[in-house]
């Protein structure tokens, strides 16, 4: 409810201005152009002026009658003009009651309320029809001035106007349309009927339009509320994710320190620093060292991934010779490949010194990870091949760069898993008795690092035949210049583009 001020009590401010609460107004319900045309044609039909005004005295339509010359002539005198102006003001905005010479006409007005007759000092007459709609007065229609049928001669009041040439006035008065009372009643009924029809359809159109709008705003408000809710939820999830990453980081760090000690002391044992070991002891110590190193690698990759996910990785860019980098990466997997009896082939470009702007350590980790994977998933007697080549501008990449391909003759990757292998913790072989070890982080790290360089990684594979991983690197990462840059945390890259 509201008292005087709409929406003052009991309703939110957004509900205060509903079209259903507002009083109808002529301006809202009538189309000014077509309404003007209709009123013009009615005025022409009845040869009488018709003016439609709203409750604030604004003119909505104004059809000229046949009185123009006569009234214009009367208005050439100062007195005439003054009296005319006062009368018109009273007609337009005065009370709809019989005051100041106005009289209530017999019968009810066709739109409800009372009809007012208003004589003019020139002998002409006006009729005022209130526009009532649903019990409210929305405005008025002023008819005239017209000459009443019984008007014989110009009235005394006119003759008394200073400086008016009476003969000429008489002449012009004869040209003003005469209206019988019967004709006036018919005209009023007709105009009222037309107006009512226009108001009914106009009100309907107006209400529909406004309500549509309000309903849409309401829907939008609703959606925004839901959206805010989702954002809050999303924020909480991200926070949880961040906490997980930072927890993993801490834990990995805490694990690495004692593990390094275990390996270090074992190596000292193996080197005989505290005395010679017998063959069996030596074998045990070597196993400790080997398993310790495996565990250390695993922990390192968990730490890398948690830093990527926490958005904490910085790339230290410098000029890097890719060929040198590929060659040195190979040396770290060669012993394992030789142990499995794999053939390792290398194709390098003819050009000397293929250089890119990159983080040497991270890029090296990319190549080592790919090579280690190839070696790991290729059965004995198979082949691993690494190729380095230059490439021209490519879609999605800035400018020219280099392509590093690592191809194997291993187990291959089923089609439906080729996207997911780049996700953290994903394993192609998910069975509890996994044949191949690892935490499933290698490729996720590869993808993050490559993308951090503005590059792309992709895979082609045939199950049972082998796989080929392809890393495409631009010569220079976009937007970076030479300096440290963040790798965006992967969770944020796709959904929040804008």
């Amino acid at each position: 409810m509201s008292a005087d001020k709409p929406g003052a009590v009991g309703s939110g401010p957004e509900h205060a201005g509903s079209v259903l609460q507002r009083k109808a107004s002529l301006v809202d319900m009538l189309d000014p152009l077509s309404f003007g045309d209709v009123v013009d044609s009615l005025g022409e039909l009845y040869r009488v002026g018709i003016r439609v005004l709203d409750e604030r005295g604004r003119t909505l339509a104004d059809a000229k009658g046949s009185n123009g010359d006569f009234c214009g002539f009367v208005n050439t005198t100062a007195q005439g003009r003054a009296r005319c102006t006062a009368l018109v003001a009273r007609l337009n905005e005065g009370p709809l009651t019989p005051t100041q010479g106005a009289q209530v006409l017999p019968g009810t007005s066709p739109l409800g309320g009372e009809l007012l007759g208003q004589p003019c000092f020139t002998g002409l007459r006006y009729v005022v029809l209130p526009v009532q709609w649903e019990g409210d007065v929305l405005g008025r229609v002023v008819f005239g001035p017209f000459a009443p049928e019984e008007l014989a001669d110009v009235p005394v009041a006119l003759a008394e106007l200073e400086g008016l040439e009476l003969e000429r006035a008489r002449e012009l008065l004869a040209h003003v349309g005469r209206q019988s009372e019967h004709r006036v009643v018919k005209m009023l009924a007709h105009v009222a009927q037309v107006l009512a029809a226009l108001l009914a359809s106009g009100q309907k159109a107006y209400l529909t339009g406004q309500l549509h709008l309000e309903a849409m705003l309401e829907t939008q408000r609703d959606l925004e509320a839901q959206n805010a809710q989702l954002m809050r939820l999303n924020q909480r999830l991200k926070e949880a994710d961040r906490i997980k990453s930072s927890f993993l980081g801490t834990v990995s760090h805490e694990l690495r320190t004692p593990l390094s000690s275990i390996i270090g002391y074992s190596e000292m044992l193996a080197e005989g620093l505290v005395g010679a070991l017998n063959a069996e002891q030596m074998q045990f110590v070597r196993t400790i060292i080997e398993k310790g190193n495996t565990l250390l690698k695993l922990i390192s990759s968990i730490l890398d991934m948690s830093q990527i996910e926490a958005g904490k990785v910085r790339l230290a860019f410098e000029w890097v010779d890719v060929q040198e980098l590929v060659e040195s990466s190979l040396t770290s997997v060669m012993p394992q490949a030789q142990r499995k009896g794999l053939t390792v082939k290398v194709h390098l470009p003819e050009v000397a010194q293929p250089r890119v702007v990159a983080d040497r350590e991270k890029l090296s980790q990319v190549v080592v990870n790919l090579l280690a994977n190839a070696v790991k998933f290729t059965p004995g007697g198979g082949q691993v091949e690494v190729r380095l080549s230059a490439h021209g501008p490519q879609p999605g990449l800035v400018g020219e760069g280099y392509r590093i391909e690592v191809e194997d003759t291993g187990v291959g990757i089923p089609l439906d898993q080729r996207e997911r292998i780049f996700q953290s913790f994903y394993q192609v072989d998910d069975s509890p008795t996994r044949e191949y070890g690892g935490a499933g982080l290698g490729l996720a790290i590869v993808k993050s690092y490559v993308e951090g360089h503005g590059g792309q990684v992709s895979v082609t594979s045939e199950v049972g035949q082998g796989s080929c991983f392809r890393v495409v690197l631009p010569k220079e990462p976009p937007l970076s210049g030479h300096g440290p840059a963040y790798i965006p945390p992967p969770i944020d890259t796709d959904p929040e583009r804008f």
């Binding site: 409810m1 509201s2 008292a3 005087d4 709409p6 009991g10 309703s11 939110g12 509900h15 509903s18 259903l20 609460q21 409800g112 709609w133 649903e134 019990g135 409210d136 009914a200 009100q203 309907k204 209400l207 529909t208 309500l211 309000e214 309903a215 849409m216 309401e218 829907t219 609703d222």
Partner: protein, 234 residues
């Protein structure tokens, strides 16, 4: 309600809510048919373009009190279709009383329940306190074979505090009675909260008489309450 002391105007908003096709528009049509033309506006029915589903209906009823206060009732229906939830909320805003038009058929119970919950939800969403806005339940279509019995209506009455009125809106039965309970509840509620009677010098009896004197009450249980109904001018 909208109360404008400066212009001496009071507007009350009554909303007919309920499932699609339960007879909301039929109620308004019956009121329109029984009200004297001087006391009501046109029945405005707004339809959506894609189908015949009514978007909403509006029927204004009005009178001027002996102390010169202009009182207007705006009777609205809400669209029953699920898709128009936003429109329902917009129409429901600031309602002074709600008529819940239920379909009496047993097969419609689930639908009635669903819309009842919707009404509660809508009221909550727009901040209308269900304890502050009177709701009247109409069991419409009591002429249909599958309709619930009087005993079942009594059962329904006991389940909650809302007045329950049986109706055959299509024949105009129960429509005036529903409106009467609605307006009476609305008035009492506003009088309690805003001292309406004293505020605009109009008693509940005068308020109801002004309205129902303008209605053709032939054949309704209200006929004896408002005996001057036979078309005497104000």
């Amino acid at each position: 309600m909208q109360l404008n002391h400066a212009q001496r105007e009071l507007t009350l908003k009554i909303v007919y809510y309920g499932p699609g096709l339960s007879g909301k528009t039929t109620n308004l049509r019956a009121i329109h048919a029984r009200a004297r033309p001087e006391a009501r506006g046109r029945l405005l029915s707004v339809e959506t373009h894609e189908d015949r589903t009514l978007f909403f209906d509006l029927l204004p009823v009005f009178f001027t009190s002996s102390s010169g206060f202009k009182v207007k009732l705006k009777l609205f229906t809400v669209p029953g279709q699920v898709v128009h939830d936003a429109t329902r909320r917009v129409v429901l805003q600031n309602a002074d009383a709600v008529a819940f038009i239920a379909d009496s058929r047993r097969s419609a119970s689930a639908e009635n329940n669903a819309y009842w919950r919707k009404l509660r939800a809508n009221m909550r969403e727009i901040g209308l306190d269900a304890t502050q806005v009177p709701v009247v339940i109409q069991f419409n279509k009591r002429d249909l074979p599958d309709a619930q019995t009087d005993a079942e209506l009594d059962e329904a009455r006991k389940k909650g505090g809302e007045p329950v009125v049986g109706a055959v809106a299509l024949r105009g039965e129960g429509v005036m009675e529903t409106l009467h309970v609605l307006l009476q509840s609305a008035w009492r509620n506003l009088d309690e909260r805003a001292r309406l009677s004293r505020n605009i010098s109009l008693t509940e009896k005068e308020f109801l008489t002004h309205i129902f004197q303008q209605m053709d009450l032939t054949g309704t249980s209200l006929e004896s309450l408002y005996p001057t109904a036979a078309g005497r001018p104000r």
